[in-house]
Symmetry: C2
Subunit: 256 residues, 2 copies
């Protein structure tokens, strides 16, 4: 018999932002493993489950905990905020899977911050886009810089994850400078969303030049439009290219 482990994306945090499938899977599990902050977001529905955690940065140990619990015969879910496969634990679980041939992994996707933040801000990612993390814990800064420059070169809309932390207070400013240096105009339409789907959710639009001066925190997702994006009222919109008048003109022509 295979030991089943589910790697579950919980979306921004509220139960109603999870998919039905994610809820059903969590309901079916004996043990839910996750970073404490995310476990604490799970409500009454999950009373009676065994909750297991490891401190921040102990991701390898957290994954190993899942495998060890599964080997005991428990049905295990590993929860990740947002999507399990976008800066989540899915890849690390697969990397470790060779050590645990009796275990079978299933990834259950969730709403990542690019989607949930974009929904709050309007439609900033409604055309080709990049997702880039500014955290250099696991990625050399030179690689992040190369990706920011490439994003401008390809004229992608951009979602920036992990734009700041206590130790990286100026990273968003540095990222903006790289984008500007790569040719993005200071008037480029941008926005950011704090505490997506949680208490204190707020959204703001601004220009790239203004974004450079803003102090964001680790619960912020930043959106940078492509060269054609516009701010409409309090929304950031990246057009897909539909001709709004075309249909009306065609109808008028048909009518003669």
């Amino acid at each position: 018999m295979k030991h089943e482990i589910y790697i579950v994306g919980m979306g921004p945090g509220r139960e109603e932002d999870m998919t039905q499938e994610a809820l059903t899977v969590l309901d079916s599990c004996d043990v839910i493993v996750g970073y404490t902050v995310y476990l604490n977001l799970l409500g009454e529905r999950f009373l009676g489950k065994t909750f297991l955690s490891t401190p921040m940065r102990q991701e390898v140990e957290r994954c190993r905990m899942c495998y060890e619990e599964a080997k005991k015969g428990k049905r295990v879910a590993l929860i990740c905020s947002g999507d399990a496969g976008i800066y989540g634990m899915a890849s690390l679980m697969y990397e470790m899977s060779a050590e645990y041939p009796s275990c079978e992994l299933t990834v259950v996707p969730g709403i990542t911050a690019a989607s949930s933040g974009a929904a709050v801000l309007g439609a900033p990612l409604n055309h080709d886009f990049c997702v880039i993390s500014l955290s250099d814990l696991l990625t050399p800064w030179e690689q992040i810089k190369a990706r920011l420059r490439a994003a401008v070169l390809g004229d992608f809309a951009i979602a920036l994850y992990n734009p700041s932390s206590r130790k990286r207070a100026d990273y968003l400013q540095r990222a903006c400078d790289i984008l500007l240096d790569a040719g993005a105009k200071g008037t480029r339409a941008c926005g950011y969303v704090e505490n997506i789907g949680r208490d204190g959710e707020t959204a703001h639009t601004c220009t790239l030049q203004e974004l450079r001066e803003i102090q964001v925190n680790m619960f912020t997702t930043v959106f940078i439009g492509n060269s054609q994006s516009v701010i409409m009222g309090d929304k950031l919109v990246t057009k897909r290219g539909y001709q709004i008048g075309a249909g009306a003109r065609a109808r008028a022509k048909e009518r003669g």
Copy 2:
């Protein structure tokens, strides 16, 4: 009173892949507008709702239909497959919103094919990535080409939407050639998923050189790893950079 319109991402198609919020919003609406294929995916739960549609390519008319129904006092949902704000109708609705000042838009995010397809394939987007559509209906091919080249330059993992259609049978091959020409190796780890979350869901891994020879259809999402991605069994995995041995070594050291 504001007339409420919800632009709802339904995910890959099954009711269980929708978020609780999306289901609750659809439950609360009188009228559900969408492309017929997506309306047909909605089950018994929505019997009794008024379903309205326009043919393919009549997206402007479909959006206008939402506004007109809302102005009649109906509570309206516009459904999009995947996420409402990723190649969905959110941006077009905002673009038209100035004509309908009495209407208020809310975007309800859904699981986009990048997330749902990645979950089936393993963890191909577990580090910085780009999402690029190969459809040149609304985007000049030269722009698509520039984005593909930039994606290689930044060493992003890539999710390709709309990789093929009857009229664009060779577009995936052309895209692969652009990636190869931009410096991606023929051995680059890739994969593709057909009919995500629907009957006939299948996933395959292959190299970039092999991908070039594969005929995909319009219900396929293609994943191209970054230079470090690997194929593990039948899964495509893009590592995030955790040192799997590090924790074990630290523990061994603690134990002396």
